[in-house]
């Protein structure tokens, strides 16, 4: 059917800000892009592949990435590689016109002998953002532990810099509990270098009851990527209000 409506794909293409402001306009009057309203930058939208784990299991990464691209996502963030090598993944990305906007990588893969392999792998898939999704309890028990962890990230950041890559840290609600009056997130990022990406999971921040805007402002230029999902503090009845 011919229609003047905006497709799902076009909708994503037009940006989150467009969605925020324009989704309910009759399509024939829907503007093309609204990001100007938020500073004029057009920020692409990617998909964390953890989201479509079921899709990946049923279709394989080939089908899943095709689905993501078809839905209009510009990039994907990996959380595991489905037993595919880097070249195969890069081929999949290229075939679907997707970029790798990041990868969740365990800290151990950024240390010691593993680091060189990780750099090579991510270079092949075209990724420059290596984000640690969580830290073990030994890194978060005390302020000293967290400062040590930040120092480890600083060291990794220095090692990644020649490769044009950055390391990052992703938050869960637990990162906003306090130690000696400071949140884990604050202790870490007040010590971490600016090159260390502060990957704000906006939903988790909401769940933790903190204001993402305050953190984005307090640590300017640090949130190279953010995770967009609803807070668990939402009205009952929605199915996405889960956190892990």
């Amino acid at each position: 059917m011919k229609t003047r409506s905006i497709s799902r794909r076009s909708f994503i293409k037009s940006g989150v800000a467009t969605a925020a402001l324009g989704a309910m306009l009759p399509p024939s009057v829907r503007p093309v892009f609204a990001a100007e309203d938020y500073g004029g930058k057009k920020i692409p939208i990617g998909l964390q592949l953890y989201t479509i784990g079921g899709e990946i299991r049923s279709k394989g990464p080939e089908g899943a990435l095709a689905s993501a691209a078809k839905a209009g996502y510009k990039g994907v963030e990996f959380a595991g590689y489905f037993n595919r090598d880097a070249k195969a993944l890069r081929q999949l990305l290229d075939e679907n016109g997707l970029k790798c906007c990041g990868s969740h990588i365990g800290l151990n893969n950024l240390q010691g002998e593993n680091l060189a392999k990780t750099i090579e792998f991510n270079h092949t898939i075209g990724n420059t953002r290596l984000v640690v999704p969580s830290l073990g309890g030994s890194y978060t028990k005390s302020k000293k532990n967290l400062e040590d962890a930040a120092d480890i990230f600083n060291e990794i950041a220095d090692k990644l810099k020649p490769a044009g890559m950055r390391v990052g840290f992703h938050c869960h609600p637990g990162e906003f509990r306090t130690i000696d009056g400071e949140t884990i997130w604050d202790i870490f990022f007040s010590r971490a270098k600016k090159e260390v990406i502060m990957q704000c999971d906006l939903g988790h921040m909401g769940t933790a009851g903190v204001d993402p805007v305050a953190y984005l402002t307090k640590y300017p230029g640090r949130a190279a990527t953010v995770h967009v999902k609803p807070s668990a503090k939402m009205k009952p009845g929605l199915r996405w209000a889960r956190t892990n």
Binding site: M1, D201, V213, R222, V228, S231, M234, L238
Partner: protein, 167 residues
């Protein structure tokens, strides 16, 4: 999405002004997306969702309250309303596209959309959620008649139909 307490417009503004944000990355937790996608792929399940009492209740309300943040979520949750090719907007209502855009983005008011469907149209949507029916959309003083409407996307097949903002 958008039904939580987060101030999404302010957050996105911060991302795009001071945050240094290069990518928005959509993520859902806990496998619920998987289930949602199953529903999305299965038209029979879509129909079942539409037949459940809560969804029917909401549809009968014919009221869609969309705030700025909810509009963000509208894609993710998205049984989008679409306008069919047969519908022609009154020229008087929309004098010029660029002007309409400017006016819309200058206005940060929360908009209230009312979508009116006849019982026959409702029955039709229950039988086939993606088949266009004719309805009336009201927003403020603007009344748009003979709008082609159908359900679309993930939320058409999801219990989030219980939520007017995602329906």
């Amino acid at each position: 999405m958008g039904e939580d307490e987060l101030k999404w417009p302010e957050i996105f503004k911060a991302c795009e002004t001071v945050g240094g944000t290069e990518w928005y990355i959509v993520e859902y937790d806990g496998g619920s997306m998987e289930k949602a996608e199953e529903n999305h792929r299965n038209p029979a399940q879509v129909g079942q969702m539409l037949r459940n009492d809560s969804a029917r209740l909401i549809m009968r309300q014919r009221l869609f309250r969309i705030g700025p943040a909810a509009r963000l979520a509208f894609f993710f949750a998205a049984p989008c309303l679409e306008t069919s090719s047969t519908f022609k907007l009154p020229k008087r209502a929309f004098p010029k596209k660029s002007k309409r855009s400017e006016d819309f983005f200058a206005d940060r008011a929360v908009r209230l959309f009312q979508i009116e469907l006849s019982d026959a149209a409702m029955d039709s949507l229950r039988r086939g959620a993606r088949q266009y029916v004719s309805g009336t959309v009201r927003e403020g003083g603007l009344v748009l008649t003979n709008i082609g409407i159908h359900l679309k996307g993930w939320a058409a097949s999801n219990p989030s139909n219980k939520n007017p903002a995602s329906s």
